[in-house]
Symmetry: C2
Subunit: 228 residues, 2 copies
DNA sequence: AAATAGATCGAACGACCGCTCTAACTATGG
DNA sequence: CCATAGTTAGAGCGGTCGTTCGATCTATTT
């Protein structure tokens, strides 16, 4: 008898997922076909269905892995720098990714979430856990006085999460914005939102270091001087 | 001979467009079928193709009318109240619409814009003109001292526009937010972003009244108190 | 009222979709 | 070195999609 090699299996499955993601990014969830995914992965349709039950399940798996990846990335950034810098880094990274590899599947996921229960649940669960992460950091910032204690941490966390999404829609709607001006505005938006009232001494964000897959981009600190 | 009645023609066309929008909202651009649109509009497929060349052209027409409507609504709100109140009203309205009639087609448009050149051009053109509108109001606010003169008006306008989008993604990702807390956070976000530095006197937004279906929304003026 | 051009219908076409099924192939355990 | 279970292929099935087309109906014009 022969045994199934779980390493090879997971490898193949991952390969199909990557191929599917490229196809979905190019044509959308509905627009991409099984045949295209098979061609991209270099396998036959019969074979694909040994790894996934339906096209829907591929979509769900993509949504899951994509969001899980974004979450772990955010968690990593929050560990290695302060909240505001981490948020800006994340937004900056989303922007770079968008320029290099196109819009990706995030917006498709958001659109699908309203119609596809599986995707909707995955998205809401993931969002909730990212919110919790952000809220914790917000609360600790409030305790140390760096963040306005008057803000409701949970609500602010949700708003900040949606702010990351908005950087994606901004890239699509207004693609020719000067990246420097854009970064500065985003930083001001976030900083002013979170800073304690009266602390109009603009906090200086240290060097924001983004390490990506293939990309390593770094944004210089922005120092905003205010009147006394 | 018989002549084509342009009134009846435009009426029918509009009816098809409305039916199509409902279908697209329910199933997405790819998911909705011509047959569904025909059923919803109460016509035959043969007849539909006397009004639109292809399904693509229906999608483009929907994108155009939807964005044009959003633009005129924003313009109207900006006329009848100050910038900050208008933005909050618009976001509030988007939120109410979302609760009542579902997510709509905005996210589908944003996702499609990256793949469909026609939709992309319509979206970018519309966004540019809304940005210009917002930027003008920003500049006049800067001139009168209500808005931070240090902000780059064009960039800030783009950021504000994407902020309206983000309220849509927020509704989808975190649907159970307390609307009151949410509104307050959004208001703080926008107010703090736009207020001149040092004007930490919390602005109070008067009652923001949004009336639903066919929607005539009016927002009361915001009184911004500045320190001397 | 006959003529005629636009309005409307619905069957049907060709292409393509997600998915299944059978059959061949291949590596491994005994 | 068979036997066997996992692997892979690809033709093709039933169905649906966007679109077309010929026919019928209807209102206007003269």
């Amino acid at each position: 008898m022969r045994k199934v090699d779980p390493v090879k299996y997971e490898e193949r499955r991952g390969g199909i997922l990557e191929a599917a993601e490229r196809c979905f990014a190019r044509h959308g969830f509905h627009g991409a076909t099984i045949a295209q995914i098979c061609a991209e992965a270099g396998i036959s349709p019969g074979h694909l269905y040994h790894y996934f039950e339906t096209k829907e399940s591929i979509i769900a798996a993509i949504a899951d892995s994509e969001l899980e990846y974004a979450k772990s990335r955010s968690a990593q950034m929050l560990e290695s720098s302060n909240l505001i810098a981490a948020l800006i880094s994340e937004i900056e990274l989303v922007n770079i990714r968008h320029k290099e590899t196109g819009p990706g599947v995030l917006l498709d996921m958001l659109a699908a979430a309203g119609r596809n229960a599986a995707v909707g649940n995955i998205l809401r669960e993931n969002s909730a856990s990212v919110c919790e992460l952000l809220a914790e950091h917000l609360r600790s910032g409030q305790a140390s006085g760096q963040i306005d204690a008057g803000l409701d941490a949970d609500t602010a966390a949700a708003v900040l999460l949606s702010l990351i999404d908005s950087s994606k829609t901004l890239s699509i709607r207004v693609p020719n914005l000067d990246p420097k001006k854009r970064s500065k505005a985003l930083e001001q938006l976030i900083t002013r939102f979170l800073s304690p009232p009266g602390a109009h001494a603009q906090t200086t964000v240290g060097s924001v270091i983004v390490e990506g897959d293939k990309t390593s981009a770094s944004a210089q600190a922005v120092t905003t001087q205010n009147s006394a």
